[in-house]
Symmetry: C2
Subunit: 368 residues, 2 copies
Amino acid sequence: MFALSCRGCGSALPLDSRVWRCPSCGRALWLSSDRGFHSLDEIVCRDRRGIWRYSRALPFAERPVTLGEGGTPLVRGNFWGAELLLKLEYISPTGAFKDRGASACITRAAALSARSVVEDSTGNAGVAAAAYAARAGIGARIYVPADAPAAKRGLMAALGSEVVECRNRGEAAARAVSELREGELYIGHGWDPFYIEGMKTAAFEIFEASVVPDAVIVPVASGTLLLGLQRGFGDLLRAGLMEMMPRLFGVQGESCAPLYEDLHGRVEVGVGSGLADGLRIADPPRRGEIVEAVRSSGGDVFVVSDPEIAAALRGLHRTGIMAEPTSAAALAAFAKNRRETGETIVVPVTGAGMKDVEGLMAALRSSP
Amino acid sequence: MFALSCRGCGSALPLDSRVWRCPSCGRALWLSSDRGFHSLDEIVCRDRRGIWRYSRALPFAERPVTLGEGGTPLVRGNFWGAELLLKLEYISPTGAFKDRGASACITRAAALSARSVVEDSTGNAGVAAAAYAARAGIGARIYVPADAPAAKRGLMAALGSEVVECRNRGEAAARAVSELREGELYIGHGWDPFYIEGMKTAAFEIFEASVVPDAVIVPVASGTLLLGLQRGFGDLLRAGLMEMMPRLFGVQGESCAPLYEDLHGRVEVGVGSGLADGLRIADPPRRGEIVEAVRSSGGDVFVVSDPEIAAALRGLHRTGIMAEPTSAAALAAFAKNRRETGETIVVPVTGAGMKDVEGLMAALRSSP
């Protein structure tokens, strides 16, 4: 039913292949399925909760590695006179939306009897990988840039992972694959197609909450959530349950905005966007596909700067939503680009502020 | 339908009374209801999630102040050869089970048009109060002991609360009520009956997950979760849905164990229990009722020490469960007192380790 496929050269591989990219052309692989859905009942297991509620749409679902991820609340929030629907993705086993992806890809790693998994991350994806690897009883090695928040590195270690410090984000990504050993599986979230499968469950949840968004605004670095939403809403469209793909808006920090630049050309960097430490991927593996997902949906990519992020962060906290700075980028982009439309707009709040309180405090202090 | 009542002197007060204890005898009040339930359908609103799924059993449910609390996962865990069911209460808007109580009692505060709420706390209850007060758009002032974790105090302030530092936990509790001003509502979690109402929803969730526990093991300080479970399971018993109250076990740190001492006499303090910083209430307002709940269910109160807590904390982390030290006390008590029984035992994991990573690291370092 499920297989792996390359959109670049058309290669197809069996589901249990232990590769992390296309062996022929080197591009990132996708999960493919010969099965479409025709109703919600074909997707939903009504007696289950979290992402494995949608196990009919997920590979290796017989033995999920789960900590109860997914099933996050969708709450109303009023900001600058406009009403948004906030999907509180930080209410999650490790405090970030990454748990959806980590659960799916470590489930695969366990099914393939991997001895150990390897990830590279600035923080949240690494903590998620560490937690799910521990849950599965398999090892984990996480490559982090030297300036990754100390609190997040500490959590990875507490969960039993080996943490390898690299000079920067690029070196972390490179060494994670170059130092891969026999029996280990690379699950880098920008590459692993199972990660995106985990993310698509967020679209199913939004739909099950009787919400059909006109637009979704998400922070993008590797783009796993944006691509996952595209896949999930795509399944619902093909099943005839929705009429249109929501417009997908990606948000980047102005200091590192490759997706914005692909659409609009060089960004004018003002004060920078150091607060969005989770968004620093200079050349994401699925770069072309993210841009295409945004463009084909009628969406766009926005950039935001530190003062805008800090103001949005303060706005979230003052309504009780304890987000981390990176995840406030989406609300900042909404504030900057909004028009009066009356549309249904969903904004995932992707990470918890409590995970790196020091970083949070510094960000809030920087807000006017 | 709902009212407030005093079990000490028998006083009854209307639901919208703005008192925080019995005006006649000074004891903690309880919520009472003239309505019993006869089936699960009378309790559950099937189209809702989280604690307000049980809004028929909750007061002021017309306008809940919610951040999507409750609906926490119940996952299997294997420790020292025994299988437990872990209720992951830290997967919550502010990373602790306190959110159930805070949602219920700030819902009441909003319904009574309180200008501001006042709480005293070592950390988790204060962060929860701060978040829900912000969500409701009302002020909050939190009294904390001087040694409350800096990260948690920072979060309270980030959420817009006024944080008042006191010399110790006892002074925090005393000043919170002595400095109460006109228009403010005291919601101290040890006193507020609405807090316990929020907690009882955990029992409904366990039952809805098709689990009928033989025993539940919970850390106790003010005892809100233990008393809430007793109330929730009590509702299910009276509805004929369960046959017996699960045995309720409370766990305290050996350095501050008033409930243990009420049952067993003076505790022999060895190395102490500084890691269980959330369990330091020397004389909880509902002390007699907690002891009675434990005793009448056939349960007990256990004490644990720092090395036991640290070992349990490490055990949790090594299975991917990112708990805080205080919440590992329950697993530590299980490890110390377990027998081979084959019983269904539920252990709530009450707080997230990511909220005070510094404290977490120190605790893990102290484990052999």
